[in-house]
């Protein structure tokens, strides 16, 4: 009788002990997860090992945390924006054309490097149907500052004042410069983030120009 009670007591102690260990494990795991969540809210932005080779951005490159998917292969989001001159310009105005939609900002050094390249390509490929639209991200810089930067870069293509909605429509635009090469059918042929090689930009332009306007989906353009 005594042995039975003793075994029951030992068994009970063991069960309580195991339960305590499981509880401690779960509690510890929960605490670690909370700590990781806090750390991740503030941890340093990823270091682009290939930063400087921005060029193509594959969907597979995207971070799982809050990444917007690539727009490549999708119809370019429509927009209607005001130019520095006060004119309304819509993406739909250029139906059947290849359009380079370039997001930039006055404080963005790499942006100012490629703008003269765009100007050159605009002249070079205009006859083939290329249109370049520069969408300035920091409209709060003021028209004078925007015009000054664009003028210094020799830009004559339309500079549009981004309204916040267009940035969201194009995935947030958290990296500048960011460019979307829209084919004649209104579908985004290529998208790039950061300053890429000039010949790569030209290759993307040619790809957009080479796209067929036939069977164009009804979308942005």
């Amino acid at each position: 009788m005594f042995q039975v009670k003793r075994r029951a007591l030992v068994l009970g102690v063991m069960i309580v002990g195991i339960a305590l260990m499981v509880w401690a494990g779960v509690h510890n795991l929960r605490a670690r997860r909370l700590a990781m969540q806090k750390a991740q809210e503030n941890h340093v932005e990823l270091i682009p090992g290939s930063a400087g080779q921005p060029g193509k951005v594959d969907e597979s490159d995207a971070d799982d945390e809050g990444e917007e998917p690539s727009l490549r292969g999708k119809v370019a989001p429509a927009f209607s924006l005001t130019t520095l001159d006060g004119k309304k310009v819509s993406l739909a105005d250029y139906k059947g054309k290849a359009v380079l939609v370039n997001f930039w900002a006055t404080w963005c050094g790499p942006c100012r490097i490629e703008m003269p390249w765009f100007q050159q390509f605009q002249k070079q490929y205009a006859d083939q149907g290329l249109v370049i639209l520069g969408l300035v991200d920091d409209v709060d810089a003021g028209d004078a500052a925007i015009a000054k930067v664009a003028g210094k870069a020799g830009v004559t293509y339309p500079i549009l004042l981004a309204d916040g909605k267009v940035q969201k429509a194009y995935g947030g635009v958290d990296v500048l410069p960011m460019s979307f090469y829209v084919g004649r059918n209104g579908v985004i042929v290529e998208e790039t983030a950061g300053l890429g090689p000039k010949d790569q930009i030209e290759a993307h332009i040619k790809a957009a120009l080479a796209s067929s306007a036939s069977g164009a989906p009804s979308g942005g353009q």
């Binding site: 700590a35 806090k38 750390a39 809210e41 503030n42 941890h43 340093v44 932005e45 990823l46 270091i47 682009p48 090992g49 290939s50 930063a51 400087g52 080779q53 921005p54 951005v57 594959d58 490159d61 995207a62 971070d63 945390e65 809050g66 990444e67 917007e68 690539s70 900002a105 006055t106 404080w107 963005c108 050094g109 790499p110 942006c111 100012r112 490097i113 991200d137 920091d138 810089a141 500052a145 930067v149 995935g171 947030g172 635009v173 958290d174 990296v175 500048l176 410069p177 960011m178 998208e191 983030a193 950061g194 300053l195 890429g196």
Partner: protein, 166 residues
Amino acid sequence: MRWRLAVAGWAMAAVGVSPAMFAFQAGTLPLPAPALKSYVLYVAEDHDVHAGKRTVLELHFRVADGYHVNSHTPKSVLLIPTDVVLQPAAGISEETAEYPAGKNYSFSFDPSNKLSVYTGDFVVKVPVVATAGAHTISGKLHYQACDHAACYPPRDLPVQIIFTAR
């Protein structure tokens, strides 16, 4: 008297970020970059000071490897300076913050354009005089970061300094 300079919540967690986490984040340029992450960390430190006397609080920041932010005095009016903005707090009088000089930097694709930037660790000094007791100073670090091929929209890094003057 000993003032304990600390940061609350998220900033404490940020200090614990390991190099392994940095390495984990390495990769090709994302599209777009996650909006809620930061290119700069705030690193808390303890300070021994005397209540009622002028004390210089040192705010330590760390710019992520491979990135730079404009200094407090960039060489172009178009560039966005790094600024610490602290809200007034009861029992504390603040003087103007002191910023380190920037390092000269040029993008490889534009070597003639000289920039003044912070990379790695930098310290902003904030002289204060405070009464004895517990204090909290809230504020932010306003900055704009770039790497060597792309730039990122301006960000605000929240800073909350919690200390007790004894």
